[in-house]
């Protein structure tokens, strides 16, 4: 949209507001939106009207990365529906548009273009994937579109806010995850020979750099795979040949299933570590579900594997946040069970609502970004550790705990540990678990 046509839109919007006000004699204040303002709603920027706010996202709904990840937007949608049913944010209904990029960066560029230029979203929220989102990073920042809470742990989203002022990370970055797993191995398996199984992009590279901070001398073999090539036999054979008795995988879920299948074929039984991204036992179990003669029945292949968590998953049904989201899912969700991927989407949507509340009643895109920098680090929510948002860092949450898969549940191996990029120490988190709000909707003050 050109500058002049944007001005025209604002003018028209202002005119609409004026006539509406004349008709109703004033807007309705209050509702689920929480504090701030008290004035009238205005169409303060692209994607915002008096009674709606439009958000967009890109996810792999088809293709190699679709298992699991395609469920995330259904969780986001369910949570937004819940917020909308309770009055929306500042009386604005959230309109959520998500499009399929099939985990293909070329498609991502096309669909994000569409979101920004055709759908005219106020912000992009939770765009998924390192290679995919990298393709639109420059575009979103040059168009000054807030690019919130990227669904990927690459350091790219938050390390250099001076380069990408509109982009924010959300989940624990892969470097910190690598460091936390590395420290766990160094302390608990100091004699292990470690092999790495890495996706051939930032997921693998960041994870490896974190691991090497702690177990550089224990690593005996590094193997990587290219997403799309489903034959990982040679890589696993190389790890086996190097005598690795611990294998750490920074990979997506379908490759967890593939690596387990190949290991079965090779009779290779190391202690597996999988990064959080690739470790959901329910999903991996369903991927392996059809195999013959009870040889590979369910997630039991993953039994004993060690991974990490930064928010409570479906394996913690007693967690108050999970119970809250479960109730919302039962009321607003589509068909199907609440999964950890849907919980991820709902938790991300929760943070999004916090950001929209903090941005104030009639925010511009820049107001939204400023609000997250100013108060985002104080937000409490389902995540175990606080966000690192500030003017100098757009990195997401800073910590996680190490857990071991046991059937469909997990056992905690460490308390919540927090750290940061580079040589920052790993510390135990001193923050107490937050209590979920009664109505399931956060209540943040406007940041100004």
């Amino acid at each position: 949209m050109t500058r002049s046509s944007r001005r025209l839109t604002r003018l028209l919007a202002a005119a609409t507001v004026a006539t509406t006000l004349a008709a109703c004699g004033g807007g309705d204040d209050g509702g689920g939106g929480g504090g701030g303002g008290g004035g009238e709603n205005e169409a303060s920027d692209v994607g915002i009207t008096e009674d709606t706010i439009k958000l967009g996202a890109h996810y792999p709904l088809t293709g190699v990365a679709a298992p699991g990840y395609s469920e995330i937007p259904t969780g986001v949608q369910a949570y937004f529906d819940h917020v909308n049913a309770n009055g929306g944010v500042y009386d604005r209904q959230i309109e959520y548009v998500y499009r399929d990029d099939a985990y293909n960066p070329t498609n991502t560029s096309a669909v994000v273009n569409q979101l920004v230029l055709e759908d005219e979203v106020f912000a992009v929220v939770g765009g998924l994937g390192t290679p995919t989102h990298s393709a639109v990073l420059e575009f979103l920042n040059s168009e000054r579109v807030p690019d919130l809470f990227v669904s990927s742990g690459s350091r790219l989203w938050g390390e250099t806010p001076e380069d990408y002022p509109y982009t924010f990370g959300w989940q624990t970055d892969y470097v910190s995850e690598g460091k936390i797993l590395g420290q766990y191995i160094a302390e608990n398996l100091p004699d292990a020979k470690v092999g790495l199984f890495l996706q051939d992009d930032d997921l693998g590279a960041d994870g490896e750099s974190g691991l090497r901070e702690y177990i550089d001398d224990q690593i005996v073999e590094v193997q990587s795979y290219v997403p799309g090539n489903t034959d990982v036999g040679p890589q696993i054979a190389a790890l086996q040949a190097a005598g690795a008795d611990v294998v750490v995988g920074f990979n997506v879920p379908s490759y967890t299933a593939l690596s387990q299948l190949v290991s079965l074929r090779l009779g290779y039984q190391p202690q597996w570590f999988y990064s959080n991204v690739g470790s959901d036992p329910t999903l991996v179990g369903s991927l392996l579900a059809n195999f013959s003669q009870g040889q590979v029945t369910d997630a039991t292949l993953l039994d004993g594997a060690i991974t990490t968590e930064y928010f409570p998953g479906t394996d913690s049904p007693d967690d108050p946040w999970v119970q809250m989201f479960q109730q919302i899912w039962d009321e607003q969700g589509q068909e199907g069970e609440l999964t950890t991927f849907r919980l991820y989407g709902m938790a991300q949507a929760y943070t999004t609502v916090q950001a929209l509340q903090a941005a104030g009643q009639n925010p511009t895109r820049d107001d939204l970004v400023a609000a997250i920098e100013q108060v985002g680090a104080d937000w409490e929510g389902p995540l175990f550790a606080p966000f690192r948002y500030s003017e100098d860092s757009h990195m997401g949450t800073s910590g996680m705990r190490v857990v071991q898969v046991a059937g469909a549940a997990v056992e905690e191996l460490t308390p919540v540990l927090t750290t940061d990029l580079g040589d920052a120490e790993i510390e135990e988190s001193d923050r107490e678990a937050a209590t979920p709000p009664e109505n399931g909707i956060p209540d943040e003050e406007a940041a100004d």
Binding site: T62, G228, G233, P234, Q235, Q295
Partner: protein, 292 residues
């Protein structure tokens, strides 16, 4: 040493599946002189039919038979309905139509069966045999794959070399008018060629699916490597297709293990280029003069 053995076996197994796919391409080339890009999607479609049966509680073997039979029908129908109208024109037309089919069938699979990943059961075990203390990357299922491919190859050689039907099919492909004058029902032969090729393609689809994950585009990589294998072998020779498939499988496995997995696709191209530079007709081309 163990790694070398395992990498070699892994390469042989994936190579044998490339070979099966290349056989389907050779079959269709021999009997119709068309290169069929839709082969992979057609095979994927039949695999999903088989998977639906298996998930409904039927046995793998019944699903296999139904999948092959539906492959036969799909092949024949596509030839009659889609390919026949463009057959008289320039050769390129039919090839481009198969490219369109490739995309269309894949989309259709996604609509009918969904686009999620699903595991496809294997008829035999997926645990490697143990030799002494060590486990090698050879499973009962991979032996089944190897045997199936070798039998298919033998069957095709026998068909083309020893039967009147095979002779008639080759004649129809080479010179339609002459064949027609000699009493060969050319139209029927072309349909039969497509149908048989689709059966072999379905078989390769099921073989690669067994013990792995399937989704509508799962045959894509196989299409590329299968084509390389078929062209390596000369596109005309069943033995060439199998040798080409095994060569590609082994080479890519070694590249993946000892160089870099990122180089796999590049390596396939390099191999293809080198072979075509040295032997433009492929390794097993019978004679360069025989071009339709």
């Amino acid at each position: 040493m163990q790694q070398f053995v395992n990498v070699t076996l892994t390469g042989l197994i994936s190579g044998s599946v490339y070979a099966a796919f290349a056989l389907a391409l050779v079959l269709i080339w021999r009997s119709t002189r068309i290169v069929n890009f839709a082969q992979g999607s057609m095979a994927a479609a039949t695999s999903f039919i088989a998977l639906a049966l298996i998930q409904a509680g039927q046995s793998y073997w019944l699903a296999l038979v139904v999948a092959l039979a539906s492959g036969f029908v799909i092949g024949a129908v596509i030839e009659r309905v889609v390919i026949r109208p463009v057959e008289g024109g320039p050769e390129l037309n039919a090839v481009i139509v198969t490219l369109g089919l490739f995309v269309a069938i894949q989309a259709l699979i996604a609509i009918v069966f969904g686009s999620s990943f699903e595991s496809f059961p294997a008829p035999f075990g997926l645990r490697g045999f143990t030799v002494g203390e060590t486990t090698i990357a050879l499973t009962p299922n991979s032996i089944y794959v190897l045997v199936a491919v070798v039998l298919t190859m033998a069957g095709l050689i026998a068909l083309f070399r020893f039967t009147r039907l095979g002779l008639a099919m080759r004649a129809s492909a080479f010179g339609q008018e002459v064949a027609r004058l000699l009493g060969v029902r050319v139209g029927r032969m072309l349909t039969l060629g497509w149908a048989l090729a689709a059966v072999v393609g379905s078989l390769s689809g099921l073989l690669i699916a067994g013990g792995g994950l399937v989704y509508p585009a799962y045959m894509d990589a196989l299409i590329v490597f299968g084509f390389v294998a078929a062209v390596l072998g000369g596109l005309d020779s069943p033995v060439g297709a199998v040798v080409g498939g095994l060569t590609i499988g082994l080479a890519l496995s070694y590249v993946s293990a000892y160089l870099d997995p990122a180089l796999v696709n590049l390596a396939a191209l390099v191999i293809l280029m080198v072979v075509l530079l040295v032997r433009p007709g492929g390794l097993f081309a019978s004679s360069t003069a025989r071009r339709a």
